[in-house]
Amino acid sequence: QKKKSGSGGAMELSASDRYNPEIVPSLEEHVDRQITSKSFDLSANLVLLRMYQFFPDRTNADVLVKVLVKALMQLPGTDFTLCTYLIPHRFQLEEPIANLLALAQHAECMRFKEFWEVASSCKNLWGSIPGFEESIRNFALHAINLTFSSIHKTKLGETLSLSGGALDSLIKDQCANAGWAIDNDVVTLNNNIKSQLSKTKGGEALQLSQLRSLINT
């Protein structure tokens, strides 16, 4: 039975392990390993959640919270939603799961201000998980990069929940590594969305595949 944890943090589960409740303790340990190694193994975590789904009495609420917080950190990936599909409704209505659901809701709707408000009120859930704030900020940056070609510094700070020195050093970082530029209050991102916009789509060149259907009949 292969149960080693690879360098990428993925746990190799033999096929029969996936449906073997004896494996729950090692899956729970694996969650802690993912926290320390800053990785996320969706496949193994789903096996764990499945066992909790089959045997609700064996659900370890602390581990469940850890899995969900880590899943939230995978945004823009849909990992959090995929995990939540397996959690019985009655658990979702109570804290702490309800808190995490609220956080996910705000994040998915890009309501970062509200997100950080709720997050600060339940720091006990995510405080001990390294990289939480960083991951959410990266998600916000990802969204900003998709949407803006230039942005006001204050707007940037609002979305990232950063201000003053912390904001300045992030901008400096991005300028050095991601090609951003800052002039007074205006941050210019390094993406070429604007130039892509003027390209026209669709063409009149015939594709061979289109002709093929004619030739073959």
Binding site: P21, S43, P76, T81, Q105, S150, L197, G203
Partner: protein, 530 residues
């Protein structure tokens, strides 16, 4: 054995078995021994149903003990017979708790033999697919039966409490996985992409070789896909199918119609729930095109109703997918697009205006029969938990829709402009500027999903990010005023006349062919089993 039926035909070892039924059993046994695939399937599908209609409309078939001596008490044949016996009960009658338990035991015995002994049998693929299909159907049915505690008698509840292994979710999953492991089907698929399997349709002409384990292993993967879907685990469902490629038009799954349809339906549903709308559209399109082509060959088959039902469900799911990802409509075949328009154009319009009720209606009609895998609360037998699982999935689905519900309006506004200042757009939409910011970022975020890349065989967890929306925009700061301005791509829609002409040229060719038909071609041989 216990009395398991009533009515015109009395169960029990000594009641008279009708002569035609005796004949059926004898010939069926002989064909199985002689590996005559076509005859086996014809008897399994056609003769069995005709006899059921005639003699066993409201009663079970004779129990295996009553016909065992006709087939030299062949243990394996009796198990196969029992499988059909229970399938008939589930289809035409209402199975009792006892019958459900016995059926589970039959599968355990049958699967035990198929997994651990070398059986010298070839069975039609259509039957093997239905074995897996029926196994999962009965599992689903048992979960519902258990969940409806308020309908169960006190004795039934006692029995249920004791038989924790019967139809247990882990048991079912482990059997499916066992078939996959024992048949080593995954390495075979990884080696040649399933080419050899498709060519031979799994049959092995060599004496002493059997197709049963290998083909069951193949079908069990689609079985796993379905079970994971029923449990709400869409990621694992897709993982179970890997590396099976549903765009491969020659895979073995295409030879068995119901299998193909099932695979398309469940795969598409997984993509839908994973927010990969474009992938969902493509899979539904392939499945529905296939049904359009083969429907006519199955109009007399016993599975015709099932085919039509799944088809309607897929059109409903396709309508949802296209509403959430209009760019996907371009990927549809013409026939599928026309049918979709005919059936659902009004509903699609409503969904694009974010009418939640329509999403609810279509989802409820088209979704799989979700199950709650955990044991029911025996202390509260008056509570009916049978729709708990469905309610949760529906709630989460509608939540996702609601998160996106202002986006269609925003998209419409963006179509009207090539550039517009944010404050002005916010004004037009009647919302706060802050809200507009979040909506614009939302629009980008929701349109982005991971599409599988072809390099690693489309593994579910990998793939690159791309937008499924074909109209792009960006927010820029106006250099003079510093006001945020939305710039929208000026997409020149190129009318593609090619498709239009190609369509009419081929239609004209068809007309010509009808007027001057070519010499008659060889008759079409459809594969053994659908």
């Amino acid at each position: 054995g216990e009395m398991e039926g009533g009515g015109a035909y009395e169960g029990g070892q000594h009641a008279a078995v009708p002569d035609l039924v005796k004949q059926f059993v004898v010939y069926f046994y002989r064909h199985i021994r002689e590996r005559n695939i076509y005859e086996i399937f014809s008897m399994f599908d056609s003769s069995f149903n005709k006899l059921s209609e005639r003699y066993f409309k409201n009663t079970p078939w004779p129990p295996a003990e009553a016909i065992a001596e006709l087939v030299e008490n062949d243990h394996v044949f009796c198990l196969l017979y029992k499988e059909m016996y229970y399938r008939h009960i589930y289809a035409k009658l209402t199975p009792t708790l006892n019958q459900r338990i016995r059926s589970w035991e039959t599968y355990c015995q049958l699967f035990g033999i198929l997994l651990n002994r070398n059986v010298n049998m070839q069975l039609p693929n259509g039957w093997l697919w239905q074995m897996i299909d029926e196994f999962i159907y009965q599992f689903q049915s048992f979960c519902q039966f258990k969940a409806k505690l308020h309908l169960r008698s006190a004795e039934e509840i006692d029995v249920l409490k004791q038989c924790t292994d019967v139809w247990s979710p882990l048991g079912v999953l482990n059997y499916l996985q066992a078939f996959i492991d024992k048949s080593d089907i995954v390495s075979e698929l990884q080696k040649d992409g399933g080419r050899k399997l498709a060519e031979t349709e799994g049959y092995d002409a060599n004496v002493g070789q059997s197709n049963v384990l290998r083909v069951l292993g193949y079908f069990a993967r689609i079985g796993l896909l379905r079970v994971h879907c029923l449990l709400g685990d869409y990621f694992s469902g897709l993982q179970a199918m890997h590396p099976m490629d549903l765009t491969n038009p020659n895979g073995l799954y295409t030879k068995v119609t119901l299998c193909h349809i099932s695979a398309s339906y469940y795969t598409g549903f997984c993509y839908l729930m994973m927010r990969r709308y474009l992938d969902a559209v493509k899979v539904f399109n392939t499945g529905l095109s296939f049904i359009t082509k083969v429907k006519q060959y199955h109009s007399r088959s016993s599975g015709y109703d099932q085919i039509l039902h799944k088809m309607e469900q897929m059109y409903s799911l396709l309508a949802i997918s296209v509403s959430l990802c209009p760019a996907g409509a371009k990927a549809l075949d013409e026939s599928v697009q026309n049918n979709l328009r005919e059936k659902h154009s009004e509903k699609i319009q409503k969904m694009m205006r974010s009418e939640l009720q329509v999403f609810d209606e279509l989802f409820t009609y088209a979704c799989p029969k979700f199950i709650t895998p955990s044991a029911p609360d025996y202390e509260n037998p008056s509570v009916n938990t049978s729709s708990e699982a469905y309610s949760l999935q529906l709630k989460m689905f509608l939540n996702e829709i609601q998160q996106q519900n202002q986006l269609p309006t925003l998209k419409q506004y963006l179509k009207l402009y090539t550039s517009i200042a944010l404050p002005k757009l916010a004004d037009l939409m009647g919302i706060e500027q802050g809200q507009l910011f979040t909506l614009l970022m939302s629009l980008k975020h929701k349109a982005y999903s991971k599409t599988p890349s072809s390099e690693d065989g489309g593994a579910v967890s990998s793939g690159s990010w791309s937008s499924s929306w074909d109209n792009d925009f960006v927010i820029d700061l106006d250099p003079e005023t510093g006001v945020e301005t939305v710039h929208i791509a000026d997409v020149k829609v190129q009318r593609n006349y090619m498709d239009y002409f190609a369509n009419h040229v081929s239609k004209f060719k068809t007309v010509l062919t009808e007027l001057w038909p070519p010499a008659p071609a060889a008759p079409v041989q459809s594969g053994a089993g659908w």
